[in-house]
């Protein structure tokens, strides 16, 4: 290979500063209009579309040299894609990384919100596969943009009503639609509806990046976020008859694990940091 192409020629955080400025401007607009999907000049990243390119661009635009980054996928720090994204930022930004929710200043996540409550000085960045909550009901982008402009969300209410008519309750268990600040119908990304209440009036700024679909949106701190429901069919979250088999938590989202070939199951926390903090604390108390 000729020396014309320098393999170390990447800017801090991979993206060039002009691109970061474009992203920050789009993010400011997103914060100014909570829940509104801002089209942005999504760049082609060295990781595949659908694997977190939106979240990665948001994180890249926000990271400074003193930030401490945590990356989770399915609530866990050690799932392969989370490892890979953390490795990427280690390589192109060299920032400190952590697995502890409380120690992180920026948390990039796919499919979960950490169980440990977030603070005002933390940023939560979501990877979003499909930013348009109406997409499965109306595939045409030109139509859905008009529906948002008119706050015409009848289609979604009818869908939820039909669920109740057919199944007795709303049959959406993740990516459960929310109204942000009473104005925009918004996808919370495919988090389980268990996590929806954590979006409401969160002290931490929540930023959503959809790279393939080229949209950004935000839920600013302390913004009202309501999960859609009806007066006679209020919103409910998932509950388990089990507790976590490792830390005995009764208040966390549980993953079901098949442990043998006879179909025996066990239930453990999906949030690996929450689980290990609880186990460590229990061990310390026992020792004391």
């Amino acid at each position: 290979m000729s020396s014309t192409y320098n393999s170390n020629a990447y800017n801090f955080g991979f993206l060039d500063e002009n691109t970061k400025r474009m992203l920050r401007r789009a993010l400011l607009k997103a914060v100014a209009i909570p829940g509104y999907q801002v089209p942005f000049g999504s760049r082609e990243m060295p990781l595949p579309y659908g694997w977190g390119t939106g979240g990665i661009q948001v994180t890249a635009a926000l990271l400074g040299p003193n930030d401490v980054l945590k990356v989770i996928d399915q609530g866990a720090d050690d799932t392969t894609n989370a490892v890979n994204i953390r490795r990427f930022f280690g390589r192109v930004a060299g920032v400190a990384t952590t697995e502890r929710t409380a120690d992180a200043s920026v948390i990039q996540t796919r499919h979960r919100i950490p169980e440990t409550p977030l603070r005002e000085d933390q940023l939560l960045v979501f990877q979003v596969p499909e930013p348009e909550p109406l997409r499965t009901l109306e595939p045409r982008e030109a139509e859905t943009r008009t529906m948002h402009a008119l706050a015409d969300y009848g289609l979604m209410h009818v869908k939820l009503y039909e669920d109740i008519a057919q199944y007795g309750h709303i049959a959406t268990s993740y990516d459960y639609p929310v109204m942000v600040d009473g104005r925009f119908l918004t996808s919370p990304s495919p988090i389980p509806k268990f996590d929806n209440p954590k979006l409401d009036r969160s002290p931490a700024l929540m930023l959503f990046g959809a790279g393939r679909e080229k949209r950004l949106y935000a839920i600013p701190p302390y913004t009202r976020v309501e999960s859609l429901a009806f007066d006679d069919h209020p919103f409910e979250i998932q509950r388990w008859e089990h507790r976590c088999a490792i830390c005995n938590a009764g208040d966390s989202y549980l993953d079901e694990v098949v442990v043998d070939d006879r179909g025996t199951r066990m239930f453990v926390c999906s949030d690996t940091d929450y689980c290990s903090q609880r186990s460590d604390n229990a061990a310390t108390e026992e020792a004391a």
Binding site: Y10, W51, R87, H111, A142, S270
Partner: protein, 361 residues
């Protein structure tokens, strides 16, 4: 006892080592050199440059080697590298009329000024595997050089006012789809830009569907030409244009029958395709899809997938499509768990309901 699935980091490192080993193969066999790929796999290089939106044979060859010949992966590599490149400026519009033609055929006229030129084409090979070492024949020089002027076939029709006139000056300033998101409805220049980056296989299937009744399409290959075109830029500090090199292009101009409508009289209409490097199949497919996407402008009934611009343009990019289809192999434990508990609730409910029915009967 359950052991948490740990060690993603180590597993990734081991996997990368295996990949490198598998890519290289038997080390007793010499590694492919980039110049071999550039010269002997030139059509693969052209496709990677074309869909990777970066005209650089050396980098395309490197990407193909790194991707072990998986052209979509090579396209992805090139696109990711392209993102990081600074923009020095934009070229002047390319003049394909002044192309130094190596191939030029028309399906609409038997003879055309400048003549039909087959050039290096697979069209009339007999697709018989050539066993043994490849034949080293000598090319024979033509009796006379190609005509200096090769007017575009569609311009001949244009002189007779039989084909729609499109004033090049009427085009809006083009958007850059790698800098601005695709918005709908998209104008023709933006649609063509999207198709130029689109997957050849996807466009081929879409184009084929228009020939089989899924759109109004009565196309003739007015002209296909391939050859070299000068690239000119006009740097601000100079104030005049300079030539910075040449690139190979394939251009296809389709002529489509049109019975008139939307205030436009009956006439021939145009479909346009252009690719970097030799890419005739893609250029032809692109021209057919371009024409079918003009249905709104020409007041044609739009009912077919190839006439639906949101459908075509949102799904044409193979880097986007490949990533999103394959993201399904990422963990979805959390959502699957949510669906599992919902399904258990629903089935318990149904069992209860049917038990209640039996008790009643």
């Amino acid at each position: 006892m359950y052991v948490a699935v740990k060690g993603g980091e180590r597993a990734i490192a081991r996997s990368l080592e295996l990949l490198a080993e598998a890519r290289r193969g038997d080390t007793a066999v010499p590694e492919l050199e980039l110049v071999q790929i550039r010269q002997q796999l030139r059509l693969g290089v052209a496709r990677v440059m074309q869909e990777g939106s970066l005209y650089d044979e050396e980098l395309a060859a490197l990407a193909i080697r790194q991707a072990a010949g998986d052209l979509q992966e090579a396209i992805f590599l090139l696109r990711a590298y392209r993102t990081t490149l600074p923009r020095f400026g934009y070229t002047e519009p390319l003049t394909t009329q002044a192309m130094r033609v190596r191939r030029r055929v028309s399906g609409t006229f038997k003879d055309i000024p400048g003549g039909q030129v087959l050039g290096p084409t697979y069209d009339y090979t007999q697709r018989l595997l050539e066993f043994g070492p490849s034949i080293q024949n000598e090319t024979v020089e033509a009796d006379e050089p190609l005509a200096a002027s090769m007017p575009r076939v569609l311009d001949l029709l244009d002189a007779e006012a039989l084909i729609e006139r499109i004033d090049p000056g009427s085009d809006p300033e083009p958007t850059d789809l790698t800098r601005d998101p695709l918005m709908f409805p998209a104008d023709r220049a933006t649609r063509l830009q999207n198709l130029a980056r689109g997957d050849e296989g996807f466009l081929l299937g879409m184009a084929y569907s228009t020939q089989r009744g899924y759109a109004e399409s009565h196309p003739f290959a007015g002209e296909i030409r391939m050859g070299e075109v000068d690239v000119l830029i006009c740097p601000e500090e100079l104030g005049f244009t300079i030539e910075i090199g040449e690139i190979t292009l394939t251009e296809c101009q389709m002529i489509n029958q049109f019975h008139g409508g939307n205030g436009v009289p009956p006439q021939f209409t145009r479909g346009y395709g252009l690719t970097m490097g030799e890419g005739e199949r893609k250029a032809m497919a692109m021209a057919l899809v371009d024409r079918s996407l003009r249905c709104d402008e020409l007041g044609e009934a739009a009912y077919a997938p190839a006439q639906n611009q949101e459908f075509v343009l949102s799904h044409s990019d193979n880097v986007e499509a490949s990533g999103f289809v394959q993201h399904l192999k990422l963990p979805h434990y959390v959502d699957f768990q949510a669906e599992l508990s919902l399904l258990r609730t629903l089935s318990a409910q149904q069992r209860k309901a049917s038990a209640g029915q039996e008790a009643l009967s």
